[in-house]
Symmetry: C2
Amino acid sequence: MTANQIFEQIKAKKSFLCVGLDTDIKKIPKHFLQCEDPIFEFNSAIIDVTAPYTVAYKPNLAFYEEQGVLGWHSFVRTVQYIRANYPEQFIIADAKRGDIGNTSAMYARAFFEQCDVDAVTLAPYMGSDTVKPFFDYAGKWGVILALTSNPSAAEFEMLTLEGGDKVYERVIKTSAEWGSIDNTMYVVGATKAQMLEGIRELIPDHFLLVPGVGAQGGSLSQVAKYGMNSRCGLLVNSSRAIIYASSAEDFAEKAAHEAALVQSEMAELLKTLCQL
Amino acid sequence: MTANQIFEQIKAKKSFLCVGLDTDIKKIPKHFLQCEDPIFEFNSAIIDVTAPYTVAYKPNLAFYEEQGVLGWHSFVRTVQYIRANYPEQFIIADAKRGDIGNTSAMYARAFFEQCDVDAVTLAPYMGSDTVKPFFDYAGKWGVILALTSNPSAAEFEMLTLEGGDKVYERVIKTSAEWGSIDNTMYVVGATKAQMLEGIRELIPDHFLLVPGVGAQGGSLSQVAKYGMNSRCGLLVNSSRAIIYASSAEDFAEKAAHEAALVQSEMAELLKTLCQL
């Protein structure tokens, strides 16, 4: 998928919502535990009701690996389900992978060949070797961690380098040269909304994946104010606030309601800030 | 396992070798492809012949994920095989994981509960949130990326911060406070052997996991010279040079021969530098 194709979806849906499928078997409604594959069954129900309001899904691999081999199976089935039923959706494997070149190439095969996602989140610490193998696949994306939403992001990401750049700024400047705006996206946490302004000076045209709205406390309007560009340029993720909106039988209804509320706020922001 | 228990193994085997199980289905002898689980069958054959010469095994998850669900099954079976047959071996899941706190806790469960490895390699970019959940398990280890063996390590790890520290030095200094010498290990590439001297000034007592000897060109004697401490303090990994020593029917014999050669060099180094 190109950046423009993502933007077309955003215009069509009037939404830049990404639903995070951080599916914790301990938190899903109890009746799913009788199913053979509870995580997949829960995911497919959530996907069916939220798809009208969202342009992307982001399963986080930790939640699948925690279930071992069965969890990987649930992950693969979830991706296949989205591909088959909602082919317009952008699928991000939130895996935060990164290794030396020949090994990163294996991760790229894992996610782009064994499993047909559109994008993988990548940790930049080890440099370009770890990212470039993901760019060998036309239409696929690497989503590089830049400034994350967690409290301890300050410990290394926000340190100041000789010359004045913060570490995350250097990561952005350097890595923006590796690919293009059609294969490189950056993770910037919603809890750091005002810092989006400076990031937009470095990369005005790249898409940003913004987690941290909802349960982590980030503000959607602040993210849009500081981060939106003329082609929106944002995918804002919400996980827990949507998928666990209710833990009772009405979980799907409540998840749809939450997703619709966010979409409605996004439609306003796109109108005001992006003239859509 | 404590640091002292690892040292006891090193003394008993006169070896600080870790065999990297980077098992690529395209590189294993062709006759394995007729097996139901070629990667596991190859691994178990390699483990049987190399166990006398090694104190640790390090499966790299990329090579298993590349085979999808079946690959995870091969990984889990490999860990179970080592546990059942060679319980003295230290098992490192080379997964380079790292995510916000609640998600890292899921990864810790994946590797320490679903799958009983001793250690997981971790990417430090996002800070302490990403590492600390792995310390909630007594006897288990986090192996933090510090200075890696790949060419692009220089791009971020070796940048200089305000005040003079390199990024990797700050990662070591800061993260050494999170755990102890009984649960924290660092990845330092063998291709950067002389830099081990400076790293030993920061962390004289921690174990270091050193990849890059063999196919990547690092020198074992240089690594020992600059990195060894009074309790050895090193696990040196070799993957390709051992497990792909031959791609013919004699693969196991050749792998054993290579492992024995490395162990013999290690025995000499332990005698000379560590008075064992």
